[in-house]
Symmetry: C2
Subunit: 236 residues, 2 copies
DNA sequence: GTGTTAATATGAGTACACTCATCTTTTGCG
DNA sequence: CGCAAAAGATGAGTGTACTCATATTAACAC
């Protein structure tokens, strides 16, 4: 059924790569030219992708365009990112890490009561992620479905989701230690993660100015939720 | 940029369609041969698709295969379903409707208290939807993301979601009338719909025998939830 | 420098969802 | 019946994410 793959004769690029940089004749320079190039290329890809995603949206942007803009061959893109989706996911990976770092650096937020803490975190996250609003739905929500196919290459939705859950667990454990909430174990992590996702989906569909509806909902949900827990709703 | 579409000369199918059925020479038979054929074709497509999806999964099944198995041309499939995704969605559409009908036909469940009612409904739904477990994640969860592109052809995730929400609203209004819960308005519909989605995602990832973990979670969540509402947790 | 090897880049090729100009069948009308 | 128009079916063609055999280059040994 599948026709045998034919291989074409390599044409010969001649003046192949139009310009790597410049014919810099400094052959044995500083260690790790490879690593440097790689970094630069990855950065170029991300820059190109972000610009195009912002301008035309995720689906309307082709990998060909990204490659062209990043000045690499089409195939090279897939040496850096397994799929187009993974490329998009990279931004959320970055922003989540930023969010975690922000939390760890800010003493005030760390010592705030749980509702304020969560409100602050979500607000910070949504602020940072807002530029990607157009394509967040296309990739991020897949975290919900199980993915049986193993992922030989780095990044993956599941991995991102896992990192997020570990951070949530950290937050919850702190609150449990301070006896703000009863111990809820893994269920608490799952529930809070899902609640967070609910906020994001609401935010995505929120057409109100400045997404104020989302913030109101969040405030309301946190008030209800913590009130519920402190009144012992958990131990039924 | 876009190259002009070139049209090839039609070859001529000669003994074109191998066999429509048999050369039945009953030209002016019962009214609506068109309609009958259409129905049959649609049924054949659905049958073929379901078998293939079950055997090989959603992503590994090609539209070409489905067409071949349904004995239609590739293009014809898209006269019946806008996208491959919509084709898969059709099964959920059917099952949701079945679930709604089941509810309306069963007097016992209609008069049961809210938690039992919800438990029964979810159980019924999951039972019916279980054959599609493999590909439910691939299509159903998209209901969460906003879809700006209008849908000129029938079925769509949003439409399915809407139907679901209207049913939820019906359930909630009944409970409000019976004063089982305080009036929650649109927020209640949204929250319950999200809760339902949470159960489905949990169910998808549930590896326990007979998905018993999901049923336990559901029971627990319903107990907590209704207890919360009846204790007046809602009016904060 | 030259030679060797491992890492990386390349782009023609592939697979597959989906389109559309054209062909075929049904329907309705006389 | 015969004919015209509408509905529907058809499959070559298209766009695009992704693959993979081959080419190029960095790194290291001498």
């Amino acid at each position: 059924m599948a026709p045998q793959a034919k291989r074409r004769a390599r044409k010969k690029p001649a003046s192949g790569r139009s310009a790597k940089k410049a014919p810099k004749k400094v052959p044995k320079r500083a260690a790790g030219k490879r690593a440097r190039n790689k970094e630069q290329t990855k950065a170029r890809i991300l820059k190109a992708a972000l610009e195009l995603f912002r301008k035309k949206g995720f689906h309307k942007t082709t990998t060909k365009e990204i490659s062209r803009k990043a000045r690499i061959a089409e195939g090279t893109l897939f040496n850096y990112f397994k799929t187009k989706e993974d490329l998009a996911l990279y931004f959320f990976e970055t922003e989540l890490q930023n969010c975690i770092d922000w939390y760890h650096r800010d003493d005030y937020i760390q010592s705030a009561p749980l509702p304020e803490k969560l409100f602050g975190l979500v607000q910070h996250y949504l602020d940072r992620v807002e530029p990607y609003e157009d394509f967040i739905g296309a990739v991020y929500l897949r975290a919900l479905q199980p993915r049986s196919k193993l992922n030989p290459l780095s990044l993956d939705v599941q991995e991102l989701r896992l990192r997020e859950l570990m951070f949530i667990r950290e937050i919850l454990e702190e609150a449990e230690d301070k006896e703000e909430i009863p111990p809820m174990g893994e269920f608490g992590v799952y529930a809070l993660g899902l609640g967070f996702l609910a906020v994001v989906t609401y935010w995505l569909n929120d057409g109100s100015a400045g997404k104020e509806n989302t913030m109101a909902l969040l405030d309301r949900a946190l008030t209800i939720g913590t009130g519920f827990l402190s009144r012992g709703g958990w131990e039924w």
